[in-house]
Homo-oligomer: 347 residues x 3
């Protein structure tokens, strides 16, 4: 597929600089760049690469427009790049098709333009909207509802009663609607607590590879519109994740926690159960969240130390309270008023 | 399905309060509650919800019996709820069936009342007990033995020689019997150490979605009766987990560690290899266990701090040993005897 | 299969001690040992077990040769064991076969001696080298290239354009080539950034169960020769992992980070994005790496404390900077020069 630079400027409402007739047949990185392709400059640290790129044209922000020889000026060059690059991505192109190896139960309703791929399984009473891709080896169980334009890439499992919105993108190995981990102790051992809720997923949600989302115990687990979940995330029963929140890989969220909208959760963070995280909160990678959070930025992961310093830290960190007490005794003896940093005592 | 309150009292040996003829057709949360359904009150903090629930009846403990208008009194209301709710859970109901798309090798033995679902694969010499459910796209390799009443929900992989007990519940995407991560360094690089043991799983074990359990190197990896494993847990080769231990999601356990019975391991905890964790030990969420543990409660995760405090903590925590030394020098100069908290020096 | 001890000595170039005619039909642990089988002694702590083993013969290092009655002496007994044990491991033995339930697109090229197992799916234009095993329910999408002798055990997903080298071993549930987690914020919410690169995997690479490797955004994600990846590892887009690096389970590596060759990364470590980790670096289990690392050994995980000490540590660790300041004030008043441990201030 080839576009002129003028085509792209018009289609995406961007300012053209240079030769509108330049032919663009793909996208590329700025360094070294590829002739005939379009690069982008979003990170100011890479500004010096603009002069030497071999790219045919570059998307830049207003601040870099004066140094641009050939390309497009956009209010947000990364966003403009994302939209233009989608023209060159074959991943959502598929023909209407039902592969003969797919197993589709008689009562299933499948919309127009869907591709049901090799060995996919769709069980009774499920409804698949128009333009869906149900990839190889996906399993959609009974009474599932999937909105139009949603793609289950491959090996995805969706258990009974789950509802998924429109234009979602579910990566391979994701599990949606597995049993919540509810067990009650008896004299004979643990007894399973039935998990009778389901999972409800909004529109435009991404669910990463091997991510797991458990069904609710009585009420549902809910993922609101526009949420983006990376790979290997674990979402326990009755969690609710607010609209447009993005969560990086390997995060675990325990049961019944409510995460607000437009939050950003860094990779491998852990969030305890029954908490409330305010809208717009940022949790840094590796953090451990054990209490509800007001809007803000939070972290707790200790960055690596070289081995000797690490051993000394690990062996002595339990002494911190004792140091506080001992230092107070010293200060008292010397008549020094403790100088805690402002707010440090009431974090 | 509908039961009278009297039916439920009789069947589960509970005390009836109010109208034994009340018809119960499901379970519900206490707030708001659903007419015709049965709620439960287990957490004393929710006691005030009892008066206003719309539930037809409520299961309560002895302490709340005097405030109960209609319902059941149980020694452990959550446990009673778990057992009653199972009456309304369709998840273990399935017909005896072999779907024509299932691939079953000639020598396989399958018990009575089993359902072998769409695209399931069962290889040579495996034995499936009575009343098992082998879900869609599950793969059971050679010489596997699965006990009666066990359910592999979907997309489960069980490698050769694995033995699984009765009434187990294996959630989607679980992998049982993968190669243990054993490699020996040679001049040319790593050489695989063959993993010749298998995995042995007891009765009444739950294995969560996308959880992985590696086969043993020479001896077996063993999961004893009644163990409950949540999602995305990693269990390395030759680990042994004692009966009725419960492990929350995202925990990793390294090779050859032995965890006792009736332990509880919080989410995202990590446990190093070759350790011994005593019976009844509790490890809190996010903890890092690098030594064997006597019975007790243990933690190490640092809860989140707001960004400024977090940056200061992270940048200075390596100084802890230096602070101890410097404070001792000050105390010596002042003739103060260090007041370490009792036991703080010998944690 | 049975070998004489002399056979094994000759085949692997090891020194024979004792009866070369001893018949060996398997391998075993040293304690208790199994008659007719071959054990090994690699860990000096287990030296005392040599006298009492029931094993027919033992592989030992030079230091233990004088105490050996019957067996083999090797420069590295664990490595010799690994190579000998492979003789008794059926796991890479399979017949040339295409199961009728496999779905193979017309343009696919499959080498000699391959086994394409039950319900495997191979899409257009993919090339499978000689002697490959494509296990049950594996899905290999379009334009994939897999080198000779590579094994995809089962339920593995390989997305379009991925290249995998020779003699690799991909464990069940692994996902290779999933969409990188790239999204750009717009007024209407997140917009997917197309992920147009792929994944390139070298020779002799192991990929663990349920491990996920995302495709690159523009350039490729690269795993070099001889890398060993354990289970449930997450590798984000555009990461590069150097040759012969070994990574334990549950590690997450964020986008564009470059890890050197012959590194060892402990379980559940987390590595931030856009970093450079030097060749030969060791990262201890549970560590959080937020900056690039020179060659060395690094850690940051705090080992568990008993509950009371843990609560005190967790509640007070934010005070560390304040303690530093207060202690300086005390030292100034007393005319003491701070005695920071050498290098402690500039970790």
């Amino acid at each position: 597929m080839t576009f002129t630079l003028q085509d792209l400027a018009t289609r995406f409402g961007l300012e053209l600089v240079g030769d509108g007739g330049s032919r663009i047949d793909g996208v590329c990185t700025l360094t070294p760049g590829v002739p005939g392709r379009l690069g982008f400059l979003s990170n100011p640290k890479l500004r010096s690469q603009l002069a030497d790129t071999k790219a045919a044209a570059v998307i830049v922000g207003k601040a870099d427009a004066k140094n641009l020889r050939n390309g497009l000026v956009a209010p947000d060059p990364y966003l403009a790049y994302a939209r233009i690059a989608a023209l060159f991505d074959p991943y959502r192109d598929f023909p209407e098709h039902r592969h003969p190896s797919a197993v589709i139960a008689p009562g299933v309703k499948i919309g127009k333009g869907c591709c049901i791929a090799m060995n996919a399984v769709i069980a009774d009473n499920s409804v698949i909207g128009d333009g869906c891709f149900i990839g190889p080896n996906c399993v959609v169980m009974q009474n599932v509802h999937i909105g139009p334009g949603t793609m289950l890439v491959a090996n995805v499992f969706v258990w009974h009663g789950v509802r998924i919105g429109a234009r979602c993108n579910v990566q391979p190995g994701a599990v949606i609607g597995s049993r919540g981990f509810g067990n009650a102790m008896s004299k004979e051992g643990w007894v399973e607590v039935p998990q009778l809720g389901t999972v409800v997923i909004g529109d435009d949600v991404e669910i990463g590879a091997n991510t797991t989302i458990d069904r609710g115990a009585l009420d549902d687990t809910v993922i609101e519109n526009g949420v983006k979940l990376d790979n290997q995330i674990q979402i326990a029963h009755n969690v609710r994740i607010g609209a447009h929140t993005a969560i990086a890989a390997c995060v675990g969220i325990a049961g019944s926690t409510r995460i607000g909208s437009r939050c950003m959760i860094g990779g491998a963070a852990g969030i305890a159960g029954h908490l409330k995280i305010a809208d717009g909160t940022i949790v840094l990678a590796g953090a451990w969240v054990s209490n509800s959070l007001e809007k803000g930025i939070y972290g707790s992961a200790i960055p690596v130390l070289a081995q000797r310093a690490y051993r000394r830290m690990a062996a002595n960190v339990h002494r911190i309270m004792s140091l506080v007490d001992r230092l107070r005794a010293v200060e008292r003896k010397l008549g020094i008023k403790p100088q805690e940093a402002p707010g440090e005592d009431d974090v």
